[in-house]
């Protein structure tokens, strides 16, 4: 479905030093610098897959998404999406995709979302009976019956996002580009949006690419993740593989009977956190079963969990390793 080879996007930006003198100087002579937003990305994505783009701010996630959807011309490299060169923005290609951006909206602000849907129906040339059927299905799945008839400006952020999704999906796209779709939403709304996206992917067999800062989104939705930093691909695989590679430790969460925390827990592993009658230990994967046996034998334990470290921490470690390596590279080359 998606083939990306050595994709690059460089921008020229003008830099200006602070201060009045420098500003005056910049009026006549500006300093140009090159920003490498995407710097040699290569990956393939098969049809019907759900893939997450992860990376810090300025990593190149959105730029990549914009090149895949045809909004940006690549500086070099190859992008092929379902047999199309996206930047040509051919009608056939545009009818297959949608881009949903959590921070921007396409709904007509002063009118009910139904008007935007009607406009999209005409633009995407969806036949009226098909439109009615899809609208009915989307209304039920997203639970937006009354909201579709309320002016968009009067809807809550979550309701608006649901209507945005309905407006984007009315032509049954095969390929969904979702840029931070749950940004600013409360936990239960995030859950609703996630479940809807997953069910759409499963029912329609649509390919889905998601960028998000919200690790829960990515963990819940994407069996495969691509980690990007400074425009380069740092990792391509599953969340479990990423954790095993970057931070292979496990975390044991313990809650003790009588809410009393025993002493010398350090003997079993590194104590990451403690609370009233509870503690979290971190230890190597291979030690987990042995230590669990010892803990259960020695202490009265009410509750016990074994988990991977949080994805945020894993990512943090990955990016700091990458930054360190880049620094090393830089020092060697100078």
């Amino acid at each position: 479905m998606i083939e990306v080879e050595h994709l690059k996007k460089y921008y020229s930006v003008f830099r200006r030093e602070p201060g009045l003198r420098n500003s005056l100087k910049a009026l006549f002579r500006r300093q140009k610098t090159e920003v490498r937003a995407v710097d040699g990305l290569s990956f393939h994505i098969a049809e019907g897959k759900r893939v997450g783009f992860l990376g810090p701010n300025g990593a190149g996630k959105t730029t990549t998404l914009k090149m895949l959807s045809g909004l940006l011309y690549p500086s070099s490299g190859k992008v092929l999406v379902d047999g199309h060169l996206p930047h040509k923005r051919e009608t056939d290609f545009l009818k297959k995709i949608i881009l949903v951006m959590g921070q921007k909206q396409q709904l007509l602000w002063d009118l009910p979302p139904l008007e935007t849907l009607e406009l999209n129906r005409a633009i995407y040339e969806v036949q009226k009976p098909v439109f009615r059927k899809r609208l009915e299905a989307l209304t039920e799945l997203l639970d937006i019956g009354p909201q579709l008839r309320t002016p968009a400006r009067q809807l809550s952020l979550g309701e608006r996002m649901k209507c945005e999704l309905a407006a984007g999906l009315i032509h049954s796209p095969k390929l969904l580009f979702l840029d931070e779709p749950t940004i600013g939403l409360d936990v239960s709304m995030q859950q609703t949006i996630r479940e809807f996206i997953r069910s759409y992917n499963e029912k329609e067999g649509a390919t889905l690419i998601l960028t998000s800062h919200n690790m829960d989104d990515v963990e819940a939705l994407c069996p495969r993740i691509l980690v990007i930093d400074k425009g380069r691909l740092l990792f391509d695989g599953s969340v479990a593989e990423l954790v095993a590679q970057v931070k292979p430790e496990k975390r044991i969460g313990l809650r003790f009977e009588d809410n009393k925390l025993p002493e010398n827990l350090e003997a079993y592993g590194r104590v990451v956190s403690t609370g009233v009658g509870e503690a979290t230990l971190q230890l190597n994967r291979e030690e987990v079963s042995g230590v669990l046996g010892q803990l259960l034998a020695r202490f009265a334990i009410k509750d016990l969990t074994v988990e991977n470290p949080p994805l945020e921490e894993v990512m943090g470690e990955l990016f700091s390793k990458h930054a360190f390596l880049r620094h090393e590279e830089g020092t060697e080359s100078t």
Binding site: Y11, A37, T62, T63, K66, S69, G70, L71, L72, Y73, H87, R89, T91, L94, K95, I97, I98, L99, M101, K104, Q105, Q106, L108, D110, L111, E115, E118, L119, N120, A122, I123, Y124, E125
Partner: protein, 275 residues
């Protein structure tokens, strides 16, 4: 050949339907602001009077009642064309193209560019202000008063030619506005530029004959206010030559081609430079 014609017919039908839906959305939007209609009606009548007032002052001073060969009634026809174009500008062109500037500023032009329809069409028809229709009424009133004053009524042929030239003038005005809006891709804040263009277009309320030398040339070929207001008025009076008629058509076609080219270049600039 028939295949191409059929394809063209299907495309036109599709875009007409799209235009209908965009118009409906604008109407729905305007219904929410009904008070605007009455305010606009009063304001447009006020502007119509202020547009004619200078003519009275200038003609009142003149002995013989002619300026550069134009009588007061004839000059009022030019003002009628000017008010008509102002109505088109304020009701049809400006609201839509103002939304492009907003789109660029907010980054939502991305949604327009990803729609499987011509982006220039979508943004140019995004917003109408039907309440500004009162300006058309004002121009109609001025035409009526002017002809009553002249004590002649245009022939059907002159009326048709004048009406056609006003439609062509609308195209010219739209092309000029596309140039200004295209500047928004580079400078983002184009308000000053639109004010400047509005001020320049203001000279369209005078018959081009009052200008001499370079100015007359500039207002005919560079910022063609003469073609937009003086020539249609001359057509209504039945004094426009075929050469002048052809000049308006050729200029409108050239302006349309150049404005399309400028628009496409701007979109290309947007898609290669933004992030």
């Amino acid at each position: 050949m028939s295949g191409i014609l059929r394809h063209l017919g299907v495309s036109m039908w599709r875009y007409l339907k799209l235009l209908g839906i965009q118009l409906k959305a604008s109407l729905l939007l305007s219904m929410q602001y009904r008070a605007d209609f009455f305010i606009d009606a009063v304001i447009s009548m006020f502007w119509a009077v202020t547009a004619i007032a200078p003519l009275w002052v200038v003609y009142g001073e003149r002995v013989g009642g002619q300026i550069s060969g134009w009588s007061l009634g004839e000059a009022m026809l030019v003002v009628g064309c000017f008010i008509f174009l102002q109505a088109v500008l304020e009701g049809v062109i400006q609201p839509s193209l103002q939304t492009v500037v907003e789109h660029i500023r907010k980054g939502t032009l991305d949604f327009v560019l990803l729609k499987p329809a011509d982006a220039q069409f979508l943004v140019s028809t995004a917003r109408f202000q039907p309440w500004k229709a009162s300006n058309f009424l004002a121009s109609g009133v001025i035409f009526g008063v002017a002809f009553a004053r002249l004590e002649v009524w245009p022939s059907l042929g002159n009326l048709a030619q004048g009406a056609l030239l006003l439609v062509v003038a609308t195209g010219l005005l739209y092309s000029l506005w596309i140039w200004v809006v295209s500047a928004a891709f580079v400078v983002v804040k184009v308000n000053n530029l639109t004010f400047l263009l509005s001020a320049i277009l203001d000279v369209g309320r005078w018959p081009v004959g009052v200008f001499r030398g370079v100015l007359r040339w500039v207002f005919t070929f560079v910022i063609p206010t003469a073609l937009m207001t003086t020539f249609p008025a001359q057509a209504l009076l039945g004094v426009l030559s075929w050469a002048e008629f052809r000049l308006v058509i050729v200029c409108a076609v050239v302006f349309a081609i150049v404005s399309r080219w400028v628009w496409l270049r701007s979109i290309r600039y947007y898609t290669s430079a933004s992030s």
